[in-house]
């Protein structure tokens, strides 16, 4: 079905169910309860999960298949964001032209940077991409301020022309991003007893686009083109001797992955019309590398998991403060309460970086294949238990 194998269909179905029911899955705790702190099911974070998922899926097409480690992918994300915001400023607040332009601009960027950088391989390639991205960042922050609005980031304002839309709403506000009138920020709340679930238009647009991107990624992974890219990774020399030139394939992969990044950037701007220069900084490029490796490079689902993991820490752990800690352990005797709070304190709130760094180390030490391998191990041990129960042999074939 849809040109997918049986296993891929299952995988795609799982991802689709997860994405569409995310508002429920990510809000497991009743609002107002002390564990509600861990709920991630609010529109902004859900949007970030899937947008960075798209970014990481795209990155993985390049890195996971060809092995070329780009350290400058954030440049495409940034270029996409800037073009989308410019579209909102000049054309209209409809997200479709903005997203299209962001992909085109990022694609053009990728053609230029890829054409130059792919003349080298290995770490030389990584540093070339890094250099291009850092140049873009530094210029966007300073000299290019007329285009990028520098440090503050490009925002929509009340005096933008918006030739196809309106400059300002009737009551004097800035119009909001929309899909043919359907506002991105619109959401409804469903209440089930003490639980609250938010369904946001913006999130579902992102989720659907993510599913399409994911589907395309599966097709690319399974296509002859994907095979060719894997061949580049395993032995470029041999490929060359069989009379194949690897460069066009890798360049195509680079451009596709750059367009994914541009799409992610465009979506980010569509959800929240601001484009900041930090989106191009090397730390942002590094983040997508980490997401991909953390989740499991070369696997289909891994990068999405890695993206979710990092964004969860950034947005949830950084918000836990001492007041909340005391709330959790208030049932302990006073002295013990303070001790427990003092012990947890360095790892949450302003210490969320520390927890993230420790998680990076633990995961890569104990799960060499990233989070996907963790999942596989759990699945395997479950299956083994089951198979010893009913006497069948467990399949050890790894899932993608």
């Amino acid at each position: 079905m849809l040109g997918l194998g049986k296993k891929d269909i299952t995988l795609f179905a799982v991802v689709a169910v997860l994405a569409l029911f995310a508002p429920f899955i990510l809000n497991p705790f009743p609002a107002g309860s002390s564990l509600a702190q861990f709920n991630a099911g609010y529109p902004d974070l859900m949007q970030r999960f899937v947008i960075f998922g798209i970014f990481a899926i795209g990155f993985n097409i390049l890195f996971g298949l060809t092995g070329y480690l780009s350290f400058g992918h954030a440049a495409f994300l940034g270029a996409g964001s800037y073009s989308a915001v410019w579209m909102f400023k000049l054309l209209s607040m409809n997200v479709i032209p903005a997203i299209l332009l962001s992909m085109i601009v990022a694609g053009l960027f990728a053609v230029v940077i890829g054409y130059v950088s792919l003349r080298r391989s290995g770490i030389y390639f990584s540093i070339l991409t890094l250099a291009f991205a850092q140049m873009s960042y530094n210029l966007a922050y300073s000299v290019l301020t007329p285009i990028t609005n520098g440090e503050t980031g490009l925002q929509v304002t009340l005096d933008d022309p918006r030739v196809l839309g309106q400059t300002a709403t009737a009551d004097g506000g800035i119009p909001v991003t929309n899909l043919f009138g359907l506002e991105m920020r619109h959401f409804t709340t469903l209440e089930l007893g003490p639980w609250q679930f938010q369904f946001s238009v913006g999130y579902y647009l992102c989720a659907i686009i993510m599913l399409i991107s994911f589907y395309l990624a599966i097709r690319i992974f399974r296509s002859p083109f994907g095979m060719m890219l894997r061949a580049v990774k395993s032995n470029q020399q041999r490929m060359f001797y069989t009379g194949l030139n690897a460069r066009p394939y890798t360049l195509a992969a680079f451009v596709i992955s750059g367009m994914y990044a541009g799409l992610a950037g465009g979506l980010m701007a569509s959800m929240d019309p601001l484009a900041g220069a930090e989106r191009m900084q090397w730390t942002a490029s590094g983040e997508v590398v980490l997401m991909t490796i953390l989740g499991g490079a070369g696997t289909l689902i891994g990068p999405v998991l890695g993206a979710g993991f990092i964004k969860y820490f950034e947005n949830i752990f950084s918000k836990i403060n001492d007041q909340i800690l005391h709330g959790w352990v208030a049932w302990l005797p006073d002295g013990l309460e303070d001790l427990v709070v003092a012990l947890i304190h360095p790892f949450v709130g302003k210490g969320w970086h520390l927890t993230l760094g420790l998680m990076f180390m633990l995961i890569v030490i104990f799960l060499p294949g990233g989070l996907v391998e963790g999942g596989q191990r759990i699945a395997r041990s479950l299956r083994r238990r089951k198979s010893t129960d009913d006497g069948k042999s467990a399949s050890t074939e790894p899932a993608e």
């Binding site: 890094l130 300073s142 520390l354 030490i365 060499p368």
Partner: protein, 343 residues
């Protein structure tokens, strides 16, 4: 002309820091084949060795001074360092004044210890893992190290001055026949340059003229054969890692008076030092040093007003621009060897 001389001095000075960090990175790359994203953190820890020693020497007990009031109107508590009690006030404050040079002695064993623990405890297990895993684990380690420093010392930069004897600057211009004040350069920065030159020289001499160095060079060239010859290369590599950590640490100690150390200074240098290493060519020590000085000097020239007037913003991108040009004209950087980290 005087401006050009000044910028050459600046360039050499910046280049010293780049070269020292890149040297350690290349040692680790070249011998162990490990991409060490925690190398910047080692530089940072070196700088904090100076801070720590300064704090240790300044350890004080409080004496209440009834004549002065603190901000809440209570009698002021004045800190009196213990060294003053032991050695008297003059010697005591001289010792604290000289804490940065003293920190060189303090930092060498500390850094070697940290390096050896890192290699034995963590890096060793990643020799055969993909570079991507090495990046992830060392990046995680770098974050952990800098967060620990942040928990102890806070995020604000901590002033760590050089001894009073080295404050002020030296007037080069007079030597060269310029007007006074035309070419002046701070003493401590001159010392930093000389110090870097000595360290770089020592590392090269060590690798060139000792048996140990010979084995390590052989290991860099062909690890398997050296292993087959029955030489315990693992042990040598541990020492190598300790040495690289010490070089990074020393670069950090001496850098502390130039810019007040803060917990993220390592990350700020990390990316630049990778660029330096790669421009120099993977696996080449002379390449790393040469690239460090080259980029330092070019960066300084690019920040001259005359240059910026023609090319606005050039000082922001010069390093990356040069890196791109060099990598496109010389496939393996300045002096890189074939086959190192090319796949």
């Amino acid at each position: 002309m005087d401006a050009v001389i000044l910028q050459i001095l600046n360039g050499l000075d910046k280049g010293s820091a780049y070269a020292l960090i890149a040297l350690g990175l290349t040692l680790i790359f070249g011998t162990l084949g490990v991409v060490n994203f925690a190398h910047g953190a080692l530089f940072m820890i070196g700088a904090f060795c100076a801070v720590t020693l300064n704090r240790l020497l300044s350890l004080s007990h409080q004496v209440v001074d009834e004549t002065q009031k603190d901000f809440l109107g209570n009698p002021l508590k004045v800190d009196v360092p213990y060294v003053n009690d032991i050695f008297g006030e003059a010697t005591g404050s001289a010792i604290i004044d000289w804490s940065v040079p003293l920190a060189i002695l303090f930092s060498i064993p500390v850094m070697i210890l940290i390096g050896v623990i890192m290699e034995r405890g963590l890096i060793k297990h990643f020799y055969r893992r993909p570079h991507a895993d090495q990046i992830l684990v060392t990046f995680g380690l770098a974050i952990v190290l800098q967060e620990i420093i942040k928990q102890i010392y806070g995020a604000n930069p901590i002033p760590t001055p050089a001894p009073d004897a080295f404050t002020g600057s030296f007037d080069f211009g007079v030597l060269l026949g310029f007007d006074p004040n035309a070419v002046i350069y701070p003493y401590w920065r001159l010392i930093y340059f000389a110090f870097a030159a000595v360290i770089i020289g020592a590392v090269f001499a060590f690798l060139q003229f000792t048996t140990f160095g010979m084995v390590v060079r052989a290991g860099m060239a062909d690890r398997e054969t050296v292993g087959l010859l029955g030489i315990n290369i693992d042990r040598k590599f541990t020492i190598m890692f300790g040495l690289a950590a010490a070089v990074a640490g020393l670069a950090g100690v001496m850098y502390a008076p130039i810019n007040s150390p803060n917990y993220h200074m390592g990350m700020d240098f990390l990316v630049l030092s990778f660029v330096v290493v790669v421009v120099g060519g993977m696996g080449s020590l002379p390449g790393a040093v040469a690239a460090g000085f080259l980029l330092g000097v070019l960066e300084s020239f690019a920040s001259m007003n005359e240059v910026k007037a023609i090319l606005p913003g050039i000082d922001q991108i010069i390093i990356y621009l040069v890196a791109i040009i060099i990598l496109l004209t010389r496939p393996r950087g300045l002096m890189g060897r074939k086959g190192v980290m090319e796949d």
